[in-house]
Subunit: 389 residues, 2 copies
């Protein structure tokens, strides 16, 4: 019973003023998130792109359903556990945009493909090797179901993905030979490394290089009678570029919903709609010294792989700088000489450096309607797919 | 139902050979952890120190009970949720070595103090401000129970803690005035920043500075008739130094149980027992390129605040270097020119850079008896106190 005390406490905040939210807590400004979602949905519709938001970011069926209601065609995920969680939460069209090779996970993939097919949905997955295709085919055989398969190309990230051109064509031939249980669905072409290049010019140059590789591979596939039904990819830093290329038909954006301090450090041009911070860690001052205040949020409550959090100043608050205080603490100092420090017990709102791994640290979102000052807790939403794979 | 699929899958590994453990998984080599625990318990006994291991590291009642059986006097924790989880798991003597100031959390503290007292145990907490003492006293008043209170000194870390000397004496006076519901228990003196100084000489110099501050404060407290009953502190990087000082009576070591790649980068001298790696992330190769292999473990499965993981080579495996591949991926390259890459599907064992926040990323430990090559899964242990506060 006591094990889950923290979660029980959070459930008690439902309907309360945001002031009642104890800290550290992962808080979503739902109005801001909905505005972000609306902007992205409008962009996708205006550009004829399928919108398949990436569920690796929020790991939550609640936010996935919000995205489906806004016009998403389905969700991307990165892990089998994410796919299972979103399927259990009512999402019928899921794509694991990653390689899965273990027999035990592939049997879960096959079982999930069968469940989704039985209710009129579908599962898709990525592959980047012949061995991967064979393992997937072996797992699907007893399932009596089909799965859509995208061939992942390495379009510049140097991580997963088959080399563009001939090796991709070879893999497509192998895949086509495994119909009907494996359905050749097209190309996965995502350049994660391009998303956080700081200037629009750098991102444009990176995605142009990706597009050249994709275009060349598509030409070779067309010539081989294996025209890709769909090319899917893109992220929050680059999606307007993929959309403008005429190659991609689906965008897998994730971070736009919540944004983070690292994306805020990007420079943006007018080709892309603007998104606002919607994800916060509410922290609280637990100690005040002569020249510092210490809050109860460290890197067990916000990820620091892409930098420290920014302090989000509410009206009337002096600007503060966040310094690393370890796993459970953050140290605040005034940004300006002589600036005021917050008082003991005062709430301090942080914009995490990186949204995806920050969400991954929490069991629940506290979803607030009406803003961070006057809002009310509208939902306590589980982060279902964290801590399991 | 599907939400918890990953956890159900893990439960199915119980009693199975370690090869059955799918990835990424948080694996404890229990034989190694028990050897580490034995060495620390022997050190504490030989030096007349109370051993109060820090539960912020493992967040798990199972490992806390293991430590109690080895002679620990109780557990330290850093959060209220950790205290609640360990109390629910049978630990009766708990110390929250951190400041808690919110009314809602303090009411949980008071309730827990009452529960522990009712079963013959006790709860302790740290304070570093007069306002903190008043808030704690206010919360304890209706509980009809007592709580032990340590005054936290800033002994060099520059984070929480009252200034040594007169300000600490003043706080002790205030604390004494709140007897009997607040019991003045002594001093919290922990220098987190000293633990990872690389050389024994640097760590010795840092702890000597801390000891000077502690000694001076104790002298002033003695003179005021407020002799501290106990001085508690120390970590895995420095505990032999606190023990040698004659000031500290209790050590709060945490990482020694599991160790990590960052502690392995410390240089050690013979004054301190040696500890071995006991915590691993088992990963698996999901993609192989010309000059790289990619595993399914990124910084959602191991914390990188203190550096990337080291690759733990089993017998016969070529040495590999780990490169950051993002949230869900790690990139491996041979350490030596011309060295072999692991094959698709092959297991790769990682030693996380930092144990505490790595544990915090997982729902379960897979506890293995008999080593990483031939061992068997002896327990699947929940990380109870993660994701809540």
């Amino acid at each position: 019973m006591d094990d889950a005390r923290g979660s029980e406490v959070m459930a008690g905040w439902l309907g309360k003023h945001v002031d009642a939210v104890d800290t550290p807590a992962l808080v979503v400004d739902l109005d801001a998130a909905e505005r972000n979602l609306q902007r992205m949905a409008e962009f996708a519709a205006a550009h004829g792109m399928r919108l398949r938001p990436h569920g690796k970011m929020h790991k939550s069926a609640w936010f996935a359903r919000l995205q489906m209601r806004a016009g998403a065609v389905g969700l991307c995920v990165q892990t089998v556990a994410e796919a299972e969680a979103l399927a259990a939460g009512g999402i019928d069209d899921l794509y694991i945009s990653n390689e899965v090779v273990s027999a035990s996970k592939l049997s879960r993939v096959a079982a999930l493909a069968r469940r989704l097919q039985a209710r009129g949905g579908r599962l898709a997955i990525a592959v980047d090797s012949a061995e991967g295709v064979r393992r997937l085919a072996q797992a699907m055989a007893p399932a009596g179901a089909a799965i859509d398969v995208f061939i992942e190309l390495d379009v510049g990230q140097g991580r997963c993905g088959v080399a563009p051109g001939a090796p991709a064509v070879e893999l497509a031939h192998l895949l086509a030979a495994h119909a009907p249980s494996l359905r050749y669905a097209g190309l996965q072409a995502y350049h994660g490394g391009a998303q956080h290049l700081r200037t629009p010019a750098e991102r444009r140059a990176a995605i142009e290089r990706s597009a050249t590789l994709v275009r060349d591979t598509r030409r070779q596939l067309d010539a081989a009678g294996l025209a890709p039904p769909l090319i899917t990819g893109a992220g929050t830093g680059s999606f307007a570029l993929e959309a403008a290329s005429g190659l991609w038909g689906e965008i897998q954006v994730g971070s736009f919903l919540f944004m983070d301090a690292d994306y805020q450090r990007n420079q943006w041009d007018a080709a892309q709609p603007a998104f606002e911070p919607a994800l916060f860690v509410k922290s609280q001052v637990i100690s005040v010294g002569a020249e510092r205040a210490v809050v109860d949020a460290g890197h067990k409550s916000h990820a620091i792989d892409s930098g420290l959090p920014a302090v989000f100043a509410l009206a009337g608050q002096a600007p503060l700088e966040f310094f690393n205080g370890g796993d459970e603490h953050g140290v605040l100092r005034p940004r300006d000489a002589g600036g005021a420090l917050p008082a003991l017990g005062e709430a301090v709102w942080l914009i995490p450096g990186h949204c995806d791994p920050t969400v991954n640290l929490h069991n629940q979102y506290i979803v607030v309607r009406g803003g961070l000052t006057a809002g009310v807790v509208e939902a306590v939403v589980p982060v279902q797919a964290r801590g399991v794979w």
